[in-house]
């Protein structure tokens, strides 16, 4: 049994809040490539501005986007770890509180009924998965809500099959239009239950932008859907052109004989993601 102290977790999560001031490396590469090949002048100008913005944000440590999102924290917790000095959830929240304050992130989190702001971006959205070993991997995804608001869940019938899956993903991206700040990354979760499908979709956003699925069938489906989505010509910021999406990432999970769930979770152009291992 390995001990990890509460304070170590607080410090680690607080450090990950640097995600708010820098675009992920794979997103930078994908944005540069998109700008390079873009032929629509309006879209190219928007992409160019976004690239310059990311450079400015990183060099002056400013939030890339004012929507520093809800802090989505994914913990892979080794079964042989014992957390000492407090609850994991409290440590994560304290890390988010300190880290977000350090970078001057706005307070974006509130009670859904009273609409009274918690004032410190807590609570985080915490997902814990127990894994083998005695390490703890923590990933922070600051998730903006222009894109989160465009999430969709379709409970298809088995008869609708792969064509139904494709139709659903395209419908979700089309309905989202310019709202989720394209160019986007499209996270898709196929199978499971309603909540498992949605979580699978979100977990796909933790991949490097454009990293294909390890499953050959899904990797092929990702390529097809990326082409179909970019043929929609929504384009960067909805200004047209061929860069509606930078990537499509698909995950799957076994489901019930009665269903074919398809969840779509969209990541905006400000792909912010930091990871550490304790």
């Amino acid at each position: 049994m390995r001990q990890i102290r509460f304070d170590e977790i607080v410090d680690a999560v607080s450090g990950l809040a640097a995600a708010c001031v820098r675009l992920s490396a794979s997103a930078k590469r994908a944005m540069a490539a998109a700008c390079e090949r873009e032929e629509c002048a309006y879209a190219k100008a928007a992409l160019d501005m976004l690239i310059k913005n990311a450079e400015l944000a990183e060099s002056e440590r400013l939030p890339v986007c004012q929507d520093t999102g809800m802090a989505c924290v994914f913990v892979k917790l080794g079964q042989d770890v014992h957390i000492e000095g407090g609850l994991l959830k409290d440590a994560v929240d304290e890390g988010v509180r300190r880290g977000y304050a350090k970078y001057g992130c706005r307070a974006s989190v509130l009670d859904p009924i009273t609409r009274v702001n918690t004032g410190d971006n807590t609570p985080a959205i915490l997902h814990v998965e127990l894994v083998k070993g005695d390490r703890m991997e923590i990933t922070l995804l600051p998730k903006g809500f222009g894109s989160e608001n465009m999430s969709k869940l379709y409970m298809l019938t088995p008869a609708e099959g792969i064509e139904g899956v494709k139709r659903s993903v395209i419908a979700a991206v089309k309905a989202a239009g310019a709202n989720p700040c394209p160019p986007i990354v499209v996270g898709v979760g196929i199978g499971g239950t309603a909540e498992r499908a949605m979580l699978t979709a979100k977990e796909q956003l933790l991949r490097e932008v454009g990293q294909p699925s390890e499953d050959a069938f899904l990797a092929d489906l990702e390529r097809q859907l990326l082409d179909d989505i970019n043929a929609l010509k929504i384009g960067a910021q909805g200004f047209g052109g061929g860069n509606t999406a930078l990537a499509v990432h698909i995950g799957k999970y076994p489901t019930h004989i009665a269903s074919l769930p398809v969840a779509v979770n969209i990541q905006c152009n400000a792909v912010r993601l930091e990871r550490t291992v304790l």
């Binding site: 309006y42 100008a45 928007a46 501005m49 976004l50 310059k52 913005n53 400015l56 944000a57 002056e60 400013l62 939030p63 890339v64 986007c65 004012q66 929507d67 520093t68 001057g104 992130c105 706005r106 307070a107 974006s108 609409r115 702001n117 004032g119 222009g146 608001n149 239009g177 310019a178 709202n179 700040c181 010509k233 910021q237 909805g238 200004f239 047209g240 905006c268 152009n269 400000a270």
Partner: protein, 174 residues
């Protein structure tokens, strides 16, 4: 890119020459407002309570900024459709310009046309760059809303694109 200077506040005549797809650089004053502030402004209009600012000729920027030591450090646009239910009434009461990102409803587009306003799109995700175009900010109403409070901003060469012009033409139409 060529861009026209747009000084705000303005007379609506100044907007007639702006065409969908043209770039503008905004100079002068902008008021911030997003979901919660819009709800309060519309409630105030209905109950006859004083408004946080005179609406005539003004520009409203849909943004909830990040601030550090009282200075705005990131302030890109939020998605506009959430303010679609409020915008027609505000255009009718003299608001000249709204700034956000994404397409608007037919009701907003009609109001823009009927009252001679414009809707400008800013680049969603470019918060740090926009903060550089804001030279000062002060909260003028609804302080308790935090980032959603109404701020008066002074801006210099704030870049945007005419997304819906005063004749109702839209760049989102394809």
């Amino acid at each position: 890119m060529d861009a026209k200077i747009l000084n705000l506040p303005c007379n609506k005549e100044a907007l007639a020459g702006l065409k969908a797809g043209e770039y503008v650089l905004i100079c002068g004053t902008l008021y911030t407002g997003r979901d919660a502030a819009h709800k309060r402004i519309l409630d105030a209009i209905q109950s006859g309570a004083p408004l946080p600012f005179g609406l005539e000729g003004q520009g409203i920027y849909y943004v909830g900024p990040c601030k550090k030591d009282g200075k705005i450090i990131s302030a890109g646009p939020t998605t506009s459709y959430r303010m679609d239910g409020y915008a027609p009434e505000l255009y009718a009461r003299g608001v000249a310009v709204t700034i956000g990102k994404g397409d608007r409803s037919d009701e907003v587009r009609n109001a823009i046309k009927n009252f001679g306003g414009v809707y400008l799109a800013a680049t969603g995700g470019a918060g740090a760059l926009y903060a550089k175009a804001i030279t000062s900010c002060e909260v003028v109403a609804y302080d308790d809303l935090g980032t959603e409070a109404v701020h008066r901003l002074r801006v210099e060469n704030f870049p945007a694109i005419v997304a819906i012009d005063s004749e109702g033409n839209s760049i989102y139409e394809r």
